[in-house]
């Protein structure tokens, strides 16, 4: 049944009338996602696409519709504020798509979320899609996914689509495709996502797409080795990245010689997780180790 949400989960969108918010809200609706409300201060009382009521505050939206999850398309300066608002209103799942959020804003948000038992995905992420549930909370293209047994976790966007597309073309559908985001401080990290997939009986194989920076992949490798029985394969981007340079994502940086692709590959392989040399090798590698 995939992770984090089902077709019944009631979803609201913060920033639904903005340029990005409205564009992606239409795509989410078109996919069949259960969007019950939108929020834009000053636009309360309006209707989006003739069917989704818009509210001034998240609290109003939750009170009127019972929304449980929020997807945030709010510019960087207001993104942390939007996360606080969603959590305060009682949303238990918050997906923050916004790129360019100051890191210390996220540091400030974290204990507030922990106290309220709120799961944050992102920021700076494509969100996730559960093809078997017709639920998309984010910006992933819907035409490349299909329902099936493979779970996918990634720190990037288009590289994820590349691999998802290859999975679908090979007849391997997905339970959940999840982009956790490319920033140094994110809500749901590799480890949290692995635990969620581990608890999902429908996910029978897993693909992890990592990149340089930090040691989340190394810690994920330890978890997989200790707990998981299903086949897991991986790809790590950034073998050719020079040290000390930020490769687009704020978190993708080799600093002080730590966080290299080579280190991550070594940790994953020693945990029994094969690491593909090319994105195109991910699916064949999975098929090779997956005895069905």
């Amino acid at each position: 049944m995939a992770i984090f949400c089902t077709r019944e989960t009631k979803i609201l969108i913060q920033g639904i009338t903005g340029r990005d918010g409205s564009f992606h809200a239409k795509s989410m609706l078109g996919y069949g996602t259960n969007i019950v409300a939108g929020v834009t201060p000053g636009r309360g009382g309006q209707t989006f696409e003739g069917k989704v009521p818009v509210f001034d505050t998240v609290k109003d939206a939750v009170a009127a519709t019972g929304a449980e999850a929020s997807v945030i398309f709010v510019p960087p300066a207001g993104a942390a504020g939007a996360v606080f608002e969603a959590a305060d209103a009682g949303c238990k799942l918050v997906v923050c798509i916004t790129e360019g959020v100051p890191t210390l804003d996220m540091v400030k948000v974290m204990p507030y979320l922990a106290e309220r038992g709120v799961r944050l995905i992102g920021p700076n992420c494509p969100g996730f899609i559960n093809p078997g549930q017709q639920a998309k909370l984010g910006i992933m293209p819907t035409n490349i996914v299909a329902p099936g047994p493979v779970g996918l976790i990634s720190r990037s966007g288009t590289l994820t689509y590349e691999v998802v597309d290859a999975l679908t073309r090979a007849g391997l559908g997905q339970t959940t495709c999840l982009g956790i985001g490319g920033d140094p401080v994110i809500g749901t990290n590799f480890m949290d996502a692995l635990q969620a997939f581990h608890a999902d009986p429908e996910t029978q194989a897993l693909v992890m797409i990592g990149e340089i920076g930090g040691d989340a992949e190394e810690r994920a490798a330890d978890f997989v080795k200790a707990n998981m029985k299903i086949p897991v394969v991986s790809f790590i981007a950034g073998r050719t990245a020079p040290p000390g340079k930020r490769m687009g994502h704020a978190g993708a940086i080799v600093s002080g010689g730590a966080g290299t692709a080579a280190e991550k590959k070594k940790a994953l392989e020693s945990a029994g997780i094969p690491v593909a040399d090319r994105p195109a090798d991910v699916v064949p590698l999975l098929q090779q180790i997956w005895k069905r």
């Binding site: 992606h24 795509s27 960087p76 300066a77 360019g100 959020v101 100051p102 890191t103 210390l104 804003d105 996220m106 540091v107 400030k108 974290m110 204990p111 910006i139 992933m140 293209p141 035409n143 490349i144 990634s154 720190r155 990037s156 966007g157 288009t158 590289l159 689509y161 590349e162 597309d165 490319g182 140094p184 401080v185 990290n189 797409i209 990149e211 340089i212 930090g214 040691d215 989340a216 810690r219 790809f235 981007a237 950034g238 073998r239 050719t240 990245a241 020079p242 340079k245 930020r246 490769m247 687009g248 994502h249 704020a250 978190g251 993708a252 002080g256 040399d277 090319r278 994105p279 195109a280």
Partner: protein, 377 residues
């Protein structure tokens, strides 16, 4: 964004940290004047955005005016890890009775600002972390309460049991945290924090990296950017709002998405080639953005082929193809261009490309192989 030691010291001074006075000179004469002003002996320190300045001979103790002349003369213009020294900091030399490392960074695992402190001051902390990790004390700061008095004091007393010195260390840690927050830093270090023979604590070196995502709320920091230190193509990219890193190969890469851009560079290397750059063009098919990106990449004479790798996703590939075609028609390129477009409307996109000199490819692997064949022809 990284800033110089003297700039970091200004920020620390404003936060109330005990930073010795000093001034910046770009000529030997100005360095001499500063030495006279502050009184000998002084330290002359290269101001470049690179580590290991001391090892490279960029930090010198000067007892006499002749020393200042010699050392400032040598250091100005010196190359440190590919950076040319254009400025030196002249600051009174301190007697050192004890030295410590105090640092803070954003810790991914705890999702907090992490205080790191060590009695192994004055050496590279990365080296200590590898060789003697137990010598680094760590404390993850709760953002709701900040670094509390007793927390700072507990760390300080483990660094130095002398209570007078511990109090100064604890105070420095708390002020460092305030400076870190106020500047929206991603890293702040005092290495070393010293005690003089008289027991006065002083921050005699300073390092701050700023969070690029937070620069919008610090308009005053724009003045801290040292344009001389920036690679010219990286500066153009920053001004055009493109995420770009210069590399030394011959395959120019334009990719949508940072992860895919890294994977594309890796694939170029996998097939035996060398990428000329990292560039994330983003989701836009705006011809202006493509023109800017092409100009930046073609500014590098090493580039022998251009490789577009676009996974369309929600963006329509025919729109992207039109953007690329419009951009290439507006400028002289002079090198072959391989275009890989996958996603919505990719067939239409390939039809459009057929009418041009652009070389189409269906997959990433095919695109990279075609680009490498065309490089140098």
């Amino acid at each position: 964004m990284n800033i110089h030691e003297y700039q970091a010291k200004d920020i620390f001074r404003a936060a109330g940290l005990p930073v010795p006075p000093g001034g910046v000179a770009t000529t030997v004469e100005a360095a001499l004047a500063l030495a006279r002003q502050h009184g000998l002996p002084v330290m002359v320190k290269a101001q470049v955005l690179a580590g290991g300045r001391g090892k490279a001979g960029g930090v010198k103790f000067c007892k006499t005016e002749d020393d200042v002349r010699t050392h400032a003369g040598n250091i100005l213009g010196m190359d440190i890890k590919g950076h040319t020294v254009r400025k030196v900091l002249v600051t009174p030399a301190e007697t050192i009775a004890a030295e410590f490392y105090l640092g803070m960074l954003v810790d991914r695992a705890s999702r907090r600002v992490l205080l790191m402190a060590s009695a192994e001051g004055g050496v590279e902390i990365e080296k200590v972390a590898v060789e003697k990790p137990e010598a680094i004390l760590k404390h993850a700061i709760d953002p709701r309460f900040g670094l509390l008095d007793h927390e700072a004091m507990a760390v300080a007393l483990r660094l130095d049991p002398d209570v007078k010195r511990a109090r100064q260390l604890a105070d420095a840690m708390q002020k460092l945290y305030k400076a870190f927050l106020a500047a929206d830093a991603s890293l702040a270090e005092i290495n070393p924090f010293i005690f003089t023979d008289q027991g006065a604590g002083k921050a005699i070196d300073a390092k701050i990296n700023l969070d690029d995502n937070a620069l919008f709320r610090h308009p005053d920091f724009a003045a801290l950017r040292d344009l001389d230190e920036e690679n010219p193509s990286e500066r153009l990219a920053r001004e055009a709002d493109l995420s770009f890193v210069k590399l030394d190969g011959n395959v120019g890469c334009l990719v949508n998405g940072a992860g895919l851009a890294m994977a594309t560079m890796d694939l170029v290397q996998y097939y035996g080639g060398r990428p000329a750059n990292f560039l994330d063009i983003g989701g836009s098919s705006n011809p202006d953005k493509v023109v800017n990106a092409l100009r930046i990449i073609l500014g590098d004479p090493n580039v022998e082929v251009i490789l577009f790798n676009i996974f369309g996703g929600i963006t329509r590939c025919d729109d992207v193809a039109r953007g690329i075609i419009a951009a290439t028609e507006r400028m002289t390129i002079g090198v072959p261009i391989v275009v890989r477009l996958t996603g919505t409307n990719e067939a239409e996109a390939r039809e459009l490309l057929k009418k041009t000199d652009l070389v189409p490819a269906a997959t990433m692997d095919e695109a990279v192989q075609k680009a490498l064949e065309l490089a140098g022809k």
